[in-house]
Structure formats: structure tokens, C-alpha cells
Symmetry: D2
Subunit: 338 residues, 4 copies
């Protein structure tokens, strides 16, 4: 099956290319880029090795006819027109960006501060977190953000089971720097990142509405989430720590999680604090849960690789399901440590 | 003034030596160590430079007569006898360890899982967080743990002012690896730390009772704190993110903090998320506060250097006050970045 | 084909397991360990995911009958008896350790400071650097050290072609910390590694005799190499910078390298300084060469992943050739960046 | 004594400010910047703490009358006019940049690829490496580059004593990323630096002519140096490894170095490989030397902090000498480790 990757010069796009290059049923038939269009893939992504592939323009009109699915790894706001054009041509789309993740203009406005250019389209996109929501046979899927992936895997089954106070969720999250993308910004230089941590987007990060939407999709009424992301000095990996009032005990909580992910090849419920090193490089998520009796709080942690389970791997996982392939085709469960 | 440093071969002890070496009113008259006794300071702490100083045994009997104050940077449980012996000789003591931080055997039992060997002594020690508690003229001071320092500076004045629900405090904290000390443990190798984050001590970290005690000392009734520390791949620095229900607004919260720290040379209330890089190497703490109207939560962050404001710097700050010196004598407010 | 991995609890052994787990023609039929024998693989190598595999003793007697090849990832000096025992049973062996790399007792004595326990065996082992030496149809192969791999790939073809003064080779090398293995040593803690670089083994590193032997095997008479390794604060990756007097020009040097590696799937001759990030996670080596006319020196650099091309990947590459499989079976040429 | 710092928004300029802020005899009376002119120092250098200082334009005309010495930490090519204007006003100048380091237009042309705008001025500048050259009573001093500082401290006394073949020097150097300055470049993002090493400027780095000039100034005839710098993933620190043919023995070499630096407060000759962690944060240089009998090569290593001894600290050291102050006034010999 031929695929197209838009935004192949970025971190997430490059990761899609790497995964598809090793996928037994898919090939990359089109590589799109913006400012890097015209240069070789190898000069922009030297680690991807192999061949004399050249980046084309991010232009749907240039797609070969045999492309059946397109992965969009474009900056926020840049997916919309491309996705609609591809859909018009009958090509399935997995959008790794944020244009179609939210299900209503209201939520989009709250998350992004402006109206969606095509609000009438929002309802047609599936939210591509396959452990929680149906993706099979969909034609257009919006892959979740990395933070929502980790937070929802940590807490959605517990909230859906009514075990926690969903109006009082605190999600503190830690992310490797690749989550911020590949641009050369003052605040992303090595000198601005190494040997330091910092919070950002406090009280107004755009992933909060997405997390709350995900909880609602999972059947949780009126969730409210405090979401505080932090940047830590590592390339990859993301850890969500979710704290929430509860009346349950840890055995019940753990069994609910184990049942929820029993059939999932990519989520492990473990007994120790998940380390991001254990999942970096793989499509695995590791989840662990505690109940603190002193305060009546449940704490659930989830670790993922932000570029794999939080982006490119999840996108391919969705594509597998969209085309009836086994969910884990071409996806690794083995991480890189050390 | 001559001082003694016990545990001078560790990270915190070495930091005390470095600060005193640059202190205009104090000198290091005794250097104690355990397994490294008998070797030169330079072979164990090559960065401290200077001279042919040799580490003695951690034995109070060997102290020169002119030592007026001793800094104890010893493993948990090792300070007690040393401290009592020094006090018997009329030497003032600043304990950087945890033996005398808690104010009752009950709390000690809850934090450390065993009875204190001299519970009757606990009430005689001052808790050395000078921005919140009186230290001047004390003879024996227990310097707080690094996490309690950051968490208390972030939230104690707000809780003491009744602005937040003190029974529902969530403190997620991030620490550089030096906070775990200098021992060669499997889980502290570069290969076990770099490129990863992890929580630890969930629901049972010994700093939780200390944080709650600090809040009570500040006048906060019956505080309850969920405390979740994380280890991040950096040498130094600590960031506390405290989330708690509130009815107040951000202007009120900020003005309470500004007033609380108005006379403190080492705490800055700032308007942006504090980065640990800005304070690493200095005795500064940076605090910022937000109110999230969507959830009715206040979020307060505090960044410190765990080895300076969280250990050695704070210990010297206490000693300055104990001897009537200006609080900031010999202490830097300039960090190292980059 | 069933394989055995001895030393599966270490970094190199774990990497062999990961590669074989993804190998289409090989399976891991035996997992050996020393102090960790009896525990689950997942508890020691949490990133390897999957299953309830348990580590057995590093005891050849426990091998299932269908094992055809064994990979030894054991500490120096520990391979000899195991390898000989396996050979007696007709099992092919790839030794990732240093016991059988050197071709004579003299050289072994110079490298390791003691006589080899079975010097008569040394001549029977092939030196498994397939880009330079024949490995096909061998039964027992010693995979090279990580530094010799990088240095020899950088300079052997140029020295063999007589383009440089082989008596005057300077090899300065940089290695990620995983090259030092997984033990919990004082000098390998995060606190001893992060934010610093250092040389080690100056003038007496055991890899120098191995490099000189590799040059001799490649047909270079009486080579002399100054070898200075350095440890840098990263998990993986190795860069060799080789400087040597020359009379040639850069075009000639580059064409000799390109010809030497023309048929090699794993060595790329590039035009820019190789970055270890481009090869980390893959079995690729990247080589670039310069001629400095001002000094009459040729400079050649080679970057590899010390655990893959410098250890586990190269071992599997050798095993592929030993069994007549395509050289690159189960080995990736795509790196991890970022 | 009032001082001026031009380029106070960069890494080196900020470091000068930090040192002078702690200097007992100097104060910062002027802070200049280019694009950041008009904003507060605290917003650009939050770690420097203290006060409401505002950055002015990098304009000599704006200097208060009482400024006696100016430190220029400006990009290459930007110092010339400023320095000449300051000299016209009778203000002493220490240039941390590269405009006046080389002693002739020929050398400048070779290093920088263009003619110097004021070649007639070059002879009037002292080369400010006080351990090797006289700086006292100079009015205009060019502080050396970081690499030349480390390489010259490692090898100049040995070459000047005729102990090595100065036509055959190989200098492989490793630098932390702050050496590349503070600009937001694609190749300096965390994602481009972490977990990787790379050489750069092979055969054509502009510091080579400066190193050779320094050797000539030290009395070494016709030196030739292969200079290969590498970037390693750390913020600070620089290590030079210099390899060169020799007929001497290690005792002679070490005694020459010890004698050369006997009176220097900032250079330690040690017996073990210098670790950059031991000197980072201080103005110390650590030097160690080996002789490899197998190859007849001497190897000398020098570790420094590129921003202190390699830039700002050395500049202040020069200024101390220019004004007759003790050389080490206001400069630390204690590093930051860990």
C-alpha cells in the first residue's frame, strides 16, 4: 500500500517515514515538505538512511495516483485545506496535527483562540486513540496530541468507571523536547534546555480542551482538568502524573485498568513507576496506579514516547486499523534503553 | 569564625565547604568524612581546588577548640549522636540531614518508619527555613529537605492566609539527580538517568510529613498534601508545582506572596514560570502563581537549586542568622546559566 | 534458527536480544545471566517488553538442543571456558567480549597484562569486522571492540592502500557511556558523567593492540597507533577522529574509501563530519575524510553506535554471514534521531 | 573602578557581568546590547538577579565618564570600531572577540578569509593569556579564543623548551555548546545537540592560525598544528588533547610544565586526566601530560571552562593585571561539580 507523508522534514513526519520504511504492508510513495522542498531526504533527515529520495512540495496535487492513505505532520492550522483536498480525491487521511482533533467549534475556539475555518467538518473525524475509541473502517482520523494520549490512557478508564471525581483532575506532565517540534527557537537551544526544567502554558495550554473532550468521548460527564506541562532536558519521552480524589482502593483501580487494556498490544499496566526510558523508541504505553489513603487521592501515571505512541506510531496504528490490518503491524514494542 | 563540616565528601557537604571557602566571616576548620577519612579533600572533591586539606574522621572529639558552629551533612540517622555530642561541647549545630527536622516522634515514625532514638530532643530544634520561620539566636537548627523548601516557599504564605483549601494540596515536584546523593547505585548511573524521567516514592515519600509539619508551623490547620517527586536528567535544580482549590484571584495571591517575601533577599516573586536554570548555583528561590478559573485551582511554582537553597546555602543562611550576621553574607544570588 | 544469548542482563546482551527478537530468521532460545539469573527478563530489561521470559544461569549445559549459535556478551575473561564448551557441542559462537579478539599470546599480554588461558585457541577465531575481513562460513568469531571498529573503518583501507604513514597514526575517540557497561561504578553515576568530558586509558588502553592487529590483518605493515579515548555525556554513539601524515589528496582518499565500502550495506562515505546522532540505533557507520594541506595530514572520521555496529549489531551481522544469510537480515540502517 | 560591558546579552558578556558583580574592586557602570537594547538585564539574563538594570545600545558615546575599562563581548568583526573609539577616549579595552587577536593581516586573512579593516592596529594589542605572555600595564588586550587557551596551556611550555616536534602537533578538542554562542541556530537546538557528538571546521577552523601565532609568541619556530574541534552535549567545558612526537620522558615534561605554571594561581598540573567538570565555573585550568613510549608521542591535556578561563574569567584576569591588581581578584578557583 502506497502512502504519502506531508511534513516529512519535521520530527513527527520523519518518524512516520521511519516506521513506514520498516512496515511490511506500506511504502512511502510521496514525501512532502515546505521550506525544504526540493532537497534530498537524506540531507534533512540523515538518520533515515537509504537512497536518493527527494522532498516534494506539500502539495496534494502532486500525489501519485496509487497513494491510498496520507499522513499529515504539518504545523497547526496547515492541515485543513490539505486534508479536505485529499478526502475529495478519495484518499484516507491520518492527521497528526491539531486541526481536526476537537469535535466542535466551541471547543476549538477555547483551545486555539479562533474559529475553525471549516467547523462543519469537525464531526466527521474520528479521534484516533485506538485503546479507547473505535478507529476501524474510518476514512479520516485525527491522531491525538501527545499529552492527551498519556493523560487519557492514565485516567479515562478509571473516570469512565466512576471511580474518581472527574471534576477535580490534576494532570502534571513532563515532556522531552522533541514534543516542541524542530524549529530553531531561542527557547529550544541546547543552552536554554539542558540542565533545567520549566513549566509552560499554565492554565491555558491548548491540550486541556482536548483532554476534556477525550474524557467526554469516553463517557465521563463534565470533566474538569488542571493541566500543567513541563519541558525536561531529554529528547523524547512523556510522563503524565494524574492526581484525583477517589473512594476506591488500589486493587479495584488496577483491575479496571488491566481489564480496559487487556486486549491492547500497546498498553502495559505495571506495578512500579513507569520510566519513560522503558518506552522510548516503541509504541508502548506503561501505566501504573496508586491510591493514597492519607488524602483520599488516586494517582495514575502513564509513560509514552511522545513521537511514537504520542504521534507517528499512533498514526500508523490508526492506519493499520483503518485498512483492516493487525493493529501492531510494523510497530515495535521494544524500546531503546539504554 | 571557625566552622566544622561533617560529611565533606558528599555533594551537600562539598557545597558547604565551597560556600564557606568564599565566606568573608567563616572558615572551614575541620573536614570530616566516613569511608574517605584520611585522604585529601582534593582527591574526593577535585573542583574545590586549593590546598592540601585532608579529610578527618567524622568524629566530634577531633574538633579544634575554636570551632563555633558545625554543619552536619550526614546520611539519615547518622546525625543524632554527633549533634548531641557537639551541643554538649557548646558548639552550635546546623544539621542538613533529616534527623531533627520533624517535631515529634509521631511524625518521625510516619516519615521514617521507626521511633526516633532521642524523641525528647526534637522540640529543641528550630526548623531552618528563614523566610518562614525564626532562626536568629537559635543554637541548633535543622535545615529543611529540598522538596519541603520548594513546596513551602510556593504555598505556605497562601495557605496561611486562608486563600486555598489546605486539605487538598497536590505537590508534583521535579528534582535534579544530585538530590539523591553521591552513592554509586544502579538506579543513579548515567545509563539509568539520562534521557528519561520517573516518579518515585509515590504516596510514601518521607518528605510529605515534613511538608505538612512546615504548613502547621506556618499556622495552617490540618494540612493534607499529595506529594509526588520525580527524578529528571539534570545535575541540579528543583521545581515544585503546587495545585490546590481556591476562591481567590491571581492578583490577591501574588500580592500575598510579594508581601510575604518582601524583606527576603533570596525569594523573588516573578510573573513567568520559574526555570531552574535561573537559580542553579545560587541561593535564590523563584516563585510564580496562577489562578485557573476554569477549575477554581491555584497553581504555584517554586524553583530552587536543591544543593544550595535546598541544602548547603540554606544551612549557611541559617548560620548567618544564628550568629547575627547579615542573612546573605557569603551567599550568591547569581546563578550559572548557561 | 534458535540462538542463545549469554550475559543478557547487560547493555550489549540486551541489545542482542532486541535485535534477534526482530530478526526474521532467528529466535532467542536461551537467555543467560550471572547475578540476575532466576529473575524475569522484563525486570532487568524493562524496555524489551514482551512475555514472561526468565533469565537462566550463564551455563552452557542448560542450553536447549536446538540452539545453533550462541552470542556471548560476558565480562572480559569470562568467555573463554563458555566458548570452548559450546564449540565442543558443535554450537557456533559469536563472542562480543575481548577473550578471543587478539591473535597471539604476545598481543594479549600487551593488551591485558596477563597470559591468555588458552593461547593455542587464539588462531582459530575469525575477527568479525565483515567490511574488512572474511567471516562467511566461520564457526567461531570474535566481534571487535567498539573503538577498533570505528578506527579501523576510518583508516584501514587508506593505510592498506599505502596512502598514509601507518607508523604515525593518532586516533582520538569519543564514546557514549554505555560503552563502559552497566555496572554501578562511582565514576559512571549521572553526577560523575553529565556536563563533563574526560580522557581515560591514555597510552595504555587495551584496544590499542587490537587496532594495530586489525591494521596488520588488513595488510598494513608495522602500524603504530596513539589511541586516546574519551567519555562524553551521552548514552550511545562513538566517533573516531584519525589523524595521520599523508602525501595523497582528498579525492584519492575518498575514492579509496568509496571503493572499499562500495558493496557494504552498512558503511556510508559522506562529505560532511559524521554525527553520531545519525547512526545511533542503527548498524550504520558513517565515514568522512579530509586532507589538510597546511600540515600534510589526512583526517578521517567514523561514527557508529557503540552498542550496535560496535557490538550487538555487528555480532548479528557476523552470524548472518556465518549461516549464509544476507548480511543485513534483521539489522536496521535507520537511526533514532532525534 | 567603573567598567563597561558591551554585548551583555550574550553568554560571554553575561559571564563578565556576573564576575564583575562579585569583584571587590570593579563595578559594572554600563551594559550594552544590540537587538536587546532597551530591555532589562533580568529579562535577558534572569540568572544574574538583582536590580532593575537596563541594557543600553552598544554605543561607546553613551558611556559614563567614569568608566576606566571596557569589556567587548561582540560578534566577530563588530569590535573594531568600538574598540578604536574607546581607545580614543582613553578607556582601556579588553576584547573578548577575535578582531584583534591575530598579529598581522596575513594571519588574519588566513584565519578569517578577508583583510583586517585596520591592519595597522594589530601590532598594538597584547595577546591576553597571562600565564604565557605579559599583560601588565597594557592598555588594549585581546583575550584569546577558548580553544587556543586550552591548547596553548597544554603545549606551549613544552614546545618552547624544545621537547616536542612543533611541526607535527595534533590538537583534538572538545567543547561544550556555550562556546558556539547564544544564537538560535538549527544546529544548536537541543534536538540537534543532545545525545550526539560531531566534529566541525575540520582543516579550516579560524582558531588554528591563532594557536600557531601563540606558539610563535612563546618562542616556538614554525609551528604546524592540525586542529580538530568537536561539539559535545554539555553546556560548558573544554578539553584539549594534544599529541606530538617527542624524545623526552614524562618526568621531564611534567617538571617543565610545573615550573612554567609554578607562579600561576590558575593552572594546576595534575597526575590524572583532567575532567572538565572539575574546572567548570572557575577560572582554573588543569593540565596533565603523558609520554607514550610505544609511539614516541607526548600527549598533553588541558581542561578549562570555555566561558571563564576561555573567555570572561580570562578577560577579568587581564584587566586585573592591566590595573595592577592581584591577578586573581574577583576570580574563583572553585568549580561547580556536581
Amino acid at each position: 500500500m502506497q502512502t504519502a507523508v506531508f511534513g516529512a522534514s519535521g520530527y513527527a513526519g520523519g518518524e512516520v517515514v521511519k516506521i513506514i520504511d520498516g512496515h511490511p504492508e506500506m511504502s512511502v510513495g510521496f514525501l512532502g515538505a515546505h521550506s525544504r522542498a526540493g532537497v534530498s531526504l537524506g540531507s534533512v533527515q540523515p538518520h533515515l538512511g537509504g537512497g536518493d529520495r527527494v522532498l516534494a512540495d506539500n502539495d496534494p496535487a502532486q500525489l501519485p495516483d496509487d497513494v491510498e492513505v496520507a499522513f499529515l505532520a504539518l504545523p497547526h492550522g496547515k492541515s485543513t485545506e490539505t486534508a479536505l483536498s485529499l478526502r475529495d480525491r478519495g484518499i484516507k487521511v491520518v492527521d497528526l496535527g491539531s486541526d481536526f482533533r476537537l469535535d466542535s467549534n466551541d471547543r476549538y475556539l477555547r483551545g486555539y483562540g479562533s474559529d475553525h475555518p471549516h467547523p462543519e467538518q469537525l464531526a466527521d473525524w474520528a479521534y484516533g486513540l485506538p485503546e479507547l475509541f473505535e478507529v476501524a473502517d474510518e476514512d479520516q482520523v485525527a491522531a491525538p496530541g501527545c499529552y492527551p494520549t498519556a493523560v487519557l490512557l492514565a485516567i479515562a478508564p478509571l473516570a469512565a468507571a466512576g471511580l474518581v471525581d472527574q471534576t477535580s483532575i490534576v494532570a502534571d506532565c513532563l515532556s522531552g523536547v522533541s514534543g516542541a517540534g524542530r524549529s530553531a527557537r531561542d527557547d529550544l537551544t541546547f543552552g536554554a534546555i539542558a540542565e533545567g526544567v520549566r513549566g509552560y502554558g499554565l492554565t491555558n495550554h491548548r491540550h486541556r480542551p482536548e483532554i476534556e473532550m477525550g474524557l467526554e468521548l469516553a463517557g465521563v460527564p463534565e470533566p474538569r482538568v488542571v493541566f500543567t506541562p513541563h519541558l525536561v532536558p531529554m529528547l523524547r519521552g512523556e510522563l503524565a502524573t494524574v492526581t484525583v480524589p477517589t473512594d476506591t482502593d488500589v486493587e479495584t483501580a488496577r483491575s479496571v485498568l488491566k481489564e480496559a487494556y487487556d486486549a491492547s498490544p500497546f498498553v502495559s499496566v505495571i506495578d512500579t513507576p513507569p520510566q519513560t526510558r522503558w518506552v522510548v523508541g516503541s509504541n508502548q504505553a506503561m501505566v501504573a496506579v496508586w491510591v493514597d489513603e492519607w488524602t483520599g487521592r488516586l494517582i495514575s501515571q502513564c509513560g509514552i514516547d511522545n513521537l511514537v505512541k504520542g504521534a507517528a506510531g499512533q498514526a500508523v496504528q490508526c492506519a493499520n486499523l483503518m485498512f483492516g490490518l493487525p493493529e501492531s503491524t510494523g510497530l515495535s514494542t521494544a524500546g531503546w534503553m539504554p
